[in-house]
Point group: C2
Chain length 421, copies 2
């Protein structure tokens, strides 16, 4: 009850504060235009030299323009927060908020582009056509399965990182939490059995990231039950792929069958679908990620009652919040700083391990497996680890000292100044 009324107040307060602020972002001129010499260098006639240079060497845009540090936050408004398909105007305040986080947490200059079409091909065309200005593309709140196609095609066609945060940001934070949860419950990643409920953006991405980290036994459920090779109902090419990658035993059935004996439940699905009896049917002291928002798959108190060892949710008012903002600012900071062409699995795993490691051994406990969203010490660590992984995996366009990237990010967060590295 206290929670409900608090939430209601946040909504009211949000309307009032947004109306007062009128836009959470500001685009300002960094170039001082105080006299004719300024004008003649930053604008005509001098700027022509820069234009001709970049027409000849487009790859130098990162040295002379905002491309160096700019990310487009792109949404079609089809799956905004837990609100569903509310269109581009509904999406805009969320995307602005995301951009505000990008800047506050990592000095990334993000700009929201809320797209008025929900046709997959048209979204791809728009993003391709505006990509020259940006050093990275952050896709956001685009519904599955279109989000997979949009990301896949853009990754193929662009030479800048394309990152769908609802997929990969979420997957990174879940993996981080899981690493710490396994430590606390003495489990090994290679031998755990996982059930994932939800085969949308987050479910698909976390499956792939976990597999790339050595998890071998995953079951995925959607509204039609467990996904298995040869299932007829409710499949598409992305679920066919999941069927190939998971469920080695070919288990069939609903969620009640799927949870049996599993060590870990990851819910990226809907309110209340995980019952106490299901937790009782899992392995001893199972790890529960109940990430549906605002109402989780099971309330933490019920999960613990039923024997859960550790519970994480998507909510800030419970312990262990899986919060994407722990990941995306540092990931893009690191990627931009080494001019990465992609954000690959190695970079995501590095981000997750670093995020897990950001909870020191002495502070690690069952109700503190993930740093809080407001922990400003996190983005510099992630930026540095992601840059290092980019360099080592060959994704970087330029070599930079990861330590310096961390220092620079820290300097920005605490002093508001993003030095040149």
């Amino acid at each position: 009850m206290a929670l409900a009324s608090k939430k209601k107040n946040y909504g009211k307060l949000a309307l009032a504060r947004h109306k007062k602020l009128r836009g959470k972002l500001e685009v300002i001129s960094k170039a001082t235009l105080a006299n004719r010499d300024d004008w003649s260098t930053f604008y005509t006639p001098g700027v022509a030299a820069v234009s001709l240079h970049l027409a000849k060497y487009p790859s130098h845009a990162r040295e002379y323009t905002i491309k160096r540090n700019s990310v487009a936050v792109v949404s079609d408004g089809s799956a905004v927060l837990g609100l569903g398909n509310i269109g581009p105007f509904g999406a805009l305040p969320v995307m602005e908020g995301k951009c505000a986080l990008f800047h506050t947490l990592a000095g990334v200059e993000a700009f929201p582009l809320c797209i008025a079409t929900q046709e997959t091909d048209e979204i791809i065309e728009v993003v391709k056509n505006i990509s020259s200005t940006f050093g990275g593309i952050n896709l956001e709140d685009i519904s599955a399965p279109r989000c997979f196609i949009v990301e896949e095609r853009l990754k193929k066609e662009l030479d800048i990182p394309v990152f769908h945060d609802d997929q990969h940001g979420t997957a990174v934070v879940i993996l981080a939490g899981l690493i710490n949860a396994l430590k606390l419950t003495q489990r090994e990643i290679g031998s755990i059995k996982i059930v994932i409920n939800g085969a949308g953006a987050a479910g698909t991405a976390v499956t792939k990231l976990l597999l790339s980290c050595g998890v071998r036994d995953i079951l995925i459920c959607d509204t039609q039950g467990i996904i298995y090779k040869g299932r007829g109902l409710g499949m598409n090419r992305f679920k066919e792929e999941l069927a190939e990658l998971t469920n080695p035993g070919g288990i069939k059935g609903g969620l009640s069958e799927a949870v049996k004996g599993r060590d870990v439940f990851i819910g990226v699905s809907a309110a209340g679908v995980l019952k106490k009896e299901m937790i009782k049917a899992m392995a001893k002291e199972p790890v529960i990620f109940a990430l549906a928002n605002p109402v989780p798959e099971i309330m933490p108190s019920d999960a613990l009652d039923a024997g859960a060892g550790i519970v994480a949710t998507g909510r800030s008012d419970f312990p262990n919040q899986v919060n994407n903002s722990l990941a995306f600012p540092g990931i893009f900071r690191g990627a931009l700083d080494v001019r990465a062409k992609v954000i690959n699995e190695e970079m995501k795993v590095a981000a997750a391990r670093t995020l897990a490691g950001a909870v020191s051994e002495d502070r690690l406990k069952r109700d503190y497996i993930i740093p809080k969203g407001l922990d400003y010490s996190v983005p510099p660590l992630i930026a540095s680890a992601v840059a290092k992984a980019a360099i080592e995996s060959g994704a970087a366009g330029i070599i930079k000292d990861p330590e310096k990237i961390a220092d620079r990010t820290k300097k920005f967060i605490y002093e508001g100044e993003l030095g040149i590295i």
Copy 2:
């Protein structure tokens, strides 16, 4: 010679200063995200209330988001400065410069979008699809005749101002200069004879603006000579329209024939095409706008030698520079402040008259008919006049006191703070 070497230095200096600055714009968070309450109002869960509100009332986006004050500066890089088709990366430093001017001169938050396609339909689709985020669209450096189609279609389909600066910004400043030149040479706008050389973006727009102000006799030349009804060579539907609007006498021939007895020459064409003999064939003390850049249609000294009464160019190193930056910042400031749906002829004429009036009677002379580009007193005046004209012509979405718009713009320019009106 001194000029040539000075220009060369601006190019060098521009490369060095751009490289040091690494982007002339910065996108910052206006929302302070210092504690959990901030996060919960500017981001989840509170922001959901704003999203739901805007999904229901999209027209309120101007009250709650950056749409209120944001302009997309859109170019396909097909006609950048005098450099021609140098593509999106070549265009980017110029568009950033434009955005820097927008902010410095009027507090407009402009963001550059350099588009990777030069297909007319694709440009239109891109701009339509990203328009939710913006309160206005400034098209820039798109070659004719595609620029006409892009602007025409976008105007029809969007409910925010779409303004092609190369057309209308230029036309406004020319009209301002012409108003003052006519005063100084004792001519009446209704009885003057004008010749315009160049039927591209600027030539077409200035023709239409002059006609809307009472000019009755215009000849337009392109590379095929004078445009007349029924001409076969080098026509398209835009030139057919010009043929209907101009040349009431059906005069045929080249530029030499066109200039005969004309009071005003407006060149938006190419270096050196206006000869001394042509000026001698014009009316007494003709007014010459030789706007080709960087080398004008005739050098001012030659024009004056040949009997020109007043000469304007596009260059900052000669008197009477026709500089678009005198117009576009104030025009958009005024349009945004009253939530104008379009920038119509009335608003452009108001901008031109105000710009002309910004040169006080006692300072007005033949080598000072237009304020300098660096005159920061101009944008507040234009903003106010444009807002007033928008209100009076029915283009405004909301009524605001034009005086307050001027004060607010002034406050921004001198104190860096854009108050709420």
